[in-house]
Amino acid sequence: MSTVMITQKRRRRLRHDWPWMAAFVVPAALLVVAVQFYPLLFSAYLSTQDWTLTSSQSSEGFVGLQNFAKVLQNDVFQRAVRNSALITGTAVVLEMIIGTALAYLAAGSSRIIRAVRTLLILPLVIAPVAAGTLWRMMLNSQMGLTNYLLSFLGIQGPDWLGNADWALVSVIIVDVWMTTPFVLLVVLAGVSSIPDELHESAALDGASRWKSFLYIDVPLMAPLLLLTFLFRMLESLLSLDSIYTLTLGGPGYATFTMTYYIYTLGLRSFNLGMAAAASWLFMSFATVALLVVFWLQRRWQTAQ
């Protein structure tokens, strides 16, 4: 009886408060919708227009999907897609492996471990522009620190930034260096949340540390790892600043990525129509990649 009364009371109160609640929430909601969707809709409109800002202050007409066709057929765009896929694919996989391994090594609460952990996450707080510049100096084949250190091991370092293939490797190295600490932090949090009892009982059953990792930690952390993978993948695809300062997208088109392509079209050539079309294509590729990850996640959960 009392429960029914309380519910009725709540409903009355809700009915009474509703206009006030709406008055507070609706403006914020509208603002979010405007900020999120207006640019998207406008860029969709732009992608169908023939509009280069330096030639005309307004659009020179509707061109349908021509901008998309032009971008897709463009040789440079195709190379940029290949480069982006290669850089992101390799870098993110390496970051996941190294970050996870480091998280296990850096787990613990001793003073030394805590100091090491702090050192390991330092690259995360360095601005990508600064990181790119720093590595540009370090990877200088003649005067850089990297080749100097390699020479102590009797290795003659490669021409990191002058050779097209090594320039790609350099971009991957910098990406891995900058963002592995993010994976480390997330995985570390995941590892800490696994109850010790699980590992203890597995040890009692004779499971090795590796098996315990494989059959206890990985399944428990799978959703977290996939989410981290997802974040990293998106961020790596969007990365521009470190590549800009490290290689300028070169030599030639060797490290020219999709974001670099869009930047060049939009902010150097001011070709708004094609830049918008390229952005939508980029978003489509990223969405497909996301859907694949979500599909994998669902399959994993079903299999469990």
Partner: protein, 426 residues
């Protein structure tokens, strides 16, 4: 009595009507000027602001931004007609918006301005024009040149005298023989600074850059010959040169590890004479940039936006900033290449910079400005990068460049620029 009332009332009305206008007229003028964030041009401007404000009563706000951002700001401001900037720093890279700049001919004529500029720098190309009218006043001038290590040349009994790239390559051959077994390269250039090697191509190529129809194109045969010649230079450079940026290239020359260097003088001159940073102090000199092509120029101009509300005040700033006295001062203090003849003929300066000024003046007198948009330039230098990597041949490179150029509309200002400098197909 009535008349007095009417007269007083009229006086009051007139004074009330005039007062806002008078207040406006007395309000100090304010202009906004833009400069590239380089630690040179911008610092020089900062230094001048207090004296300018004191002398003219015009307030100046300086907006400083890196190259990319500066150009983006200018283009967006002008194409939208915003008029946020009165004085703008720029080069031919913003030629797409030259039509939005104010013609300066009347100001120049009125103040009899410009007499001391190096003739070539004051002409179309290094100086920016639109529809035959001057829109820009140059305030810096740098030309691609060749530096050489006088000590090495003496040891090898060679003279830095060349007219063409073939002559220069012949000297490089001799240097290579002479320097065999030593850790010194005959030449260094920042091939890894991907947009730079195009300057060497332009020095070797003497064809057109814009065809009869006003489209970007190259004389294929001449271009292939120039590209292959440029590729042949790589063997005279230190190992790993394809990765050298400005700093790395300059450092090699300053360490005495290269007999010659092809590049921008203003990026290295001050350091080359500083014993703390250079091992070639007193051992370097400036030589001619060979032909048959031209030395690329960097000549920053000051423009006045058509949308400026204070064009007269903006012109005052331009005169105050770009004059022979400052040209000399800024060259010594900030390393900014002076566009003024008097700097290069200054007897006092010649005592200390005789190894630099005559050679630089000679190169500045032959410079040309690129009639390329940045998109056209980028299509060229990126494919050229692939060519240097050996991934494509010169012929394939030109095909790729042309394919990208076919998508680019040449701005009217750049067609005029090409025509004025003899870079258009006849």
């Amino acid at each position: 009595m009535k008349r007095i009332y009417v007269f007083t009332a009229l006086c009051l009305i007139v004074s009330l009507l005039l007062s806002p206008g008078m207040a406006l007229a007395q309000e100090p003028k304010e202009i906004v000027a833009t400069y590239m964030q380089a630690g040179t041009y911008d610092k020089a401007a900062e230094e001048l602001v207090p004296a300018f404000e004191k002398a003219t009563g015009i307030k100046v706000e300086l907006i400083v931004a890196p190259w990319d951002v500066l150009n983006q700001n200018h283009i967006t401001d002008l194409t939208t007609g915003t008029g946020a900037y009165d004085v703008m720093s720029g080069e031919f890279w913003i030629a797409t918006v030259f039509e939005h700049m104010l013609p300066l001919d009347d100001y120049v004529k009125r103040d009899n301005y410009g007499g001391d500029f190096i003739e070539r720098i004051w002409s179309p190309g290094p100086s920016n024009f639109y529809d035959g009218k001057r829109i820009g006043v140059p305030y810096s001038a740098d030309a691609y040149g060749i530096w050489y290590n006088t000590e090495i040349f003496e040891q090898c009994q060679l003279k830095a005298e060349w007219e063409t790239w073939d002559d220069y390559i012949a000297v490089l051959d001799k240097l290579q023989t002479c320097l065999k077994g030593k850790d010194i390269a005959p030449m260094v250039h920042y091939f890894g600074q991907i947009e730079q090697p195009a300057a060497i191509f332009l020095g070797m190529y003497d064809g057109y850059l814009v065809d009869k129809n006003g489209n970007y194109a190259l004389d294929r045969e001449k271009a292939i010959a120039a590209l292959n010649k440029m590729q042949s230079l790589l063997k005279y450079n230190p190992e790993g040169v394809l990765g050298f940026d400005f700093n790395a290239g300059n450092a090699v020359f300053l360490a005495g590890k290269a007999a010659t260097m092809v590049g921008w003088p203003s990026f290295i001159r001050a350091n080359a004479d500083d014993p703390a940073q250079s091992q070639v102090v007193g051992k370097w000199a400036m030589a001619k940039f060979p032909g048959p092509g031209f030395p690329m120029v960097s000549a920053w101009n000051l423009f006045i936006s058509k949308y400026s509300k204070n064009p007269d005040a903006a012109w005052e700033w331009i005169k105050f900033y770009a004059n022979p006295e400052n040209g000399k001062k800024f060259m010594l203090k900030y390393g900014i290449g002076s566009p003024f003849k008097s700097t290069y003929e200054d007897p006092e300066l010649l005592k200390t910079l005789a190894h630099f000024l005559p050679g630089q003046l000679e190169n500045l007198s032959r410079v040309k400005s690129l009639p390329w948009t940045f998109a056209a330039f980028e299509a060229f230098f990126r494919n050229e990068g692939d060519f240097h990597q050996g991934k494509i041949t010169a012929e394939e490179m030109l095909d790729r460049v042309q394919a990208e150029w076919n998508e680019i509309k040449v701005p009217e200002a750049l067609i005029q620029l090409a025509d004025a400098q003899g870079l258009m197909e006849k």
